[in-house]
Amino acid sequence: MEELKATPLCADHENLKALMAPFGGWLMPIQYSGIIAEHKWCREQAALFDICHMGEFLCKGDPVANGLEDVFTFSVKSIPVGRSRYGFLLNDAGGVIDDLIVFRLGEDEAMIVVNAATSDNDFAVIRSRLKDPAALTDISARTGKVDVQGPLSREIMVQHFGPAIRDIPFFKFIRTSILGIDAIVSRTGYTGELGYEIFISADKVVELWRLLLEDPRVAPAGLGARDLLRLEMGYSLYGNDLDETITPLTAGLSTFVNMNKEFVGKPALEREMGQGSPRMKVAFKVDSRRAPRHFYQILHDGEEVGLVTSGAFSPMLSCGIGLGLVRPEAAALGTRLTIRHEKVEMEAQVVELPFYAGGSLRS
């Protein structure tokens, strides 16, 4: 078995008595005090996440000249400097190799932030598609990343790192000095709350983590809480709701695909648009507190129509919620579904996203 990688914060997690488990090739904290308490802390105050496991690549040069412009489902050259954009790296069949965010650091510099488990493959694929492969560098090992997410996060960040943070709009970032060195602070996150992602040199991330935790409004949160938070927003998780067999159209994420530009996988998406998708993403709410889980069957009128891709108990809604892929006839809002696994059976209804709309995300 491949040895698990550890983030620079691993010893700190162990001191905090975190429950650690493998995730995407890394040993990561699943929970500290408890998943629901951490989830609520993020919705009410500010949660701190170790995200050092995610991958970061730097791409130098003009995105048109070096070929980066055609690598993703969105246009890199049209991202204004100081902004970031979410989208996909696709295979020839239109399947999602990864979902990622590109930060336009400068006219001739972009940072690509990718999932941990897919990072090595992403690097190889992106590199192979560039006209200038030397333009791409993997900076994951020297880049530390923590996320501060929650309604109090702006106040906390401003107090610790300066007033410039107050004015960062959603999906914009600034380059600023934190702990005496250059860092990137971005108004992004995956929780549904107002929040920031901080990129800093890996050798400073322990100091940053400890500084933030000294603030009584900040509590550490693990991947367990992170999964509930993102699911309550209906956001897709790579490996569950997205993979190389699922296209962004099937996954209900066409907003992040620009069909007016070239990218690998575009012809496959054009075919899918013409023929219709055999499966569609649905969001559903369970009638009880029972949690649907990954790979549970979805039935409609007694017939199997698909599978659950993500599911959990929602602490904010006090019921089971889930995402799934189903045949199109079972995807309309209001459709009654049955979720089944072995002896477990629960009734559910197709609903609109997000499941939880009360977050501070846009405030």
Binding site: G34, I35, R290, F313, V344
Partner: protein
Amino acid sequence: MAKFYTKEHEWVEMAGAQATVGISEHAAHELGDITFVELPKIGKSVKQFEALAAIESVKAASDIYAPVSGKVAEVNQALDEAPELVNQGAELQGWICKLEGVNEAELGALMDAAAYDEYLKGL
């Protein structure tokens, strides 16, 4: 009356021929935040070590097995609205159900508290 434990981490405590059943503190801790308990139907008969109820935490869904044979006489209805009672006191207010018509001889197949503690150390 003393409690007895199964290898699957249920506990049982006898009062006359009636048994109160739950999951152990250890199991509740391992499961993490408990979000749902499927209580058995009153009147259901179960054999020792058969599936009796089900419990779900944020992390996982598990079956609860009957530590002894019997008929379900009462269930802890409070768990419908507040399954977190199991985390707050798995061997007290977080009991799952009461069984009647229990044969005390079956307790011989279970562990007492000291033996269960030893068993946990070996896990």
